[in-house]
Point group: C2
Chain length 230, copies 2
DNA sequence: GAATTTCTGTGCGCTATCGAACTTAGTAGT
DNA sequence: ACTACTAAGTTCGATAGCGCACAGAAATTC
């Protein structure tokens, strides 16, 4: 199995890539670690490798909603291309694993030094914000089962493994629904042998089937991404 | 009554302001005019004056959702600071009136020439995208009546008048609900003497009352804006 | 191995909203 | 003045998801 790299970094010129990698520190992220808080300044940017990060909108303690996922196809902290070192959402580690960490000041400097890095991060930010309207519409118009299937597919892509750990309660916070609503939806997917789970461990059995159970939003967002970032 | 100006332009240095205004053309926008389509390139950016513009997420012909409003506090086309001349959403004129129009190429050049314009538009784009998670959560968790009250307040701010024109059907498309759902919600607000309407003309009678009927999202977004852009 | 905590399954009544239809009331056209 | 149209009011059954509560099952702690 080849080592997992970050696709944004992979796409850079050799020169930029080495400049970036020189400033990066390999860190290992734990599930639940909070990397940035809405409205507040952040100190580090992260290029996920095997880890992935969830972007949550927090309305209050009980009402939360995931607006995006960042895996090794992206970067947490892309708002720095706008010169803003604040995040609009909470960034919390959803999948444990490695990431490359940069300080905000280093990334600021690199964005000036490497035009291709600037271009890449700007494009990524645009893709990320383009997803938000789609996510909103999906959350509003689509049913829990379809949304759950979509979320499982997105996580599967970023987890680089057929199984990952998360409880129904955590999924409920991500989808903005009741825990028992997730149990019912997940039970339906399991009955169809699309997934398998027990006590916080989910296994993906049938991607094709999940894609059918999911709304079109999964493939729509995915093709948006490839169109913009190859 | 003083003439309505654009606040982003007002905040620029004299030099930048005149550079910008030299490239602008005063245009008058009609309700329903479509200024940009999702995914597609746009040719002009707009600084609304007395007009205002709705940003719609289009899931399909029947399912639409407003994600933001741009009045004289903003600009349509802010993604150009990312070097991207595509919009993530559909921009459609919601309030008739004037706007200052710029070509994409002119704005591109101005963003390079005027650092303060670049800073301003970058900040505005950040505020705009910060609103999206809040809007999503609001759409998902809050009731139609509160969302309608919020929308009326936001439109009132940008219409610079106590009455404006829109039908229940159009509001339904904005809120992503049935037309008759809007009728019921609007009827309740009218019964409380907060608004008055008939056949596509809405009058705001009691702002304070509307603020109470609305969710906290109205004031939250407003204070976000002033914090970032003064 | 007993006690406690965490995760999951399930049931029940409730409510906001839906989809669809039909009615009433203004407005505009000729 | 008659017609046609568009906007708004209202009803009705259906339903997805809610809030809440409780119970079983697996893991963890002591």
């Amino acid at each position: 199995m080849p080592p997992i790299t970050n696709k944004l970094i992979d796409g850079l010129s050799e020169k930029s890539r080495s400049l970036v990698l020189n400033r990066c520190k390999l860190v290992s992220l734990e599930v639940g670690e909070i990397l940035c808080e809405p409205e507040q300044r952040f100190l580090y940017a992260y290029f996920p490798l095997s880890s992935f990060i969830s972007l949550l909108a927090l309305l209050n303690a009980r009402q939360t909603l995931e607006m995006g996922l960042i895996g090794n196809e992206g970067i947490l902290g892309s708002t720095l291309v706008l010169g803003v070192d604040r995040s609009a959402m909470q960034g919390v580690v959803q999948g444990a694993g490695d990431a490359l960490r940069l300080t905000v000041t280093d990334l600021r400097q690199l964005l000036q030094e490497c035009p291709d890095l600037h271009r890449t991060v700007a494009n990524y930010l645009f893709v990320l914000m383009s997803q938000l309207p789609r996510s909103s519409a999906c959350i509003h118009f689509h049913h829990i089962k379809a949304r759950l299937a979509r979320w499982l597919l997105m996580s599967h892509d970023r987890a680089h493994a057929d199984h990952f750990n998360i409880t129904h309660q955590d999924i409920a916070n991500i989808l903005g629904v009741r825990r028992s609503g997730v149990t019912v939806a997940a039970g339906a997917l399991q009955k169809r042998h699309l997934i398998n789970y027990s006590r916080g461990e989910i296994e993906i059995l049938d991607r094709k089937g999940l894609e059918e159970a999911s709304c079109e939003c999964y493939s729509a967002v995915k093709s948006d991404y490839t169109q913009m970032l190859g």
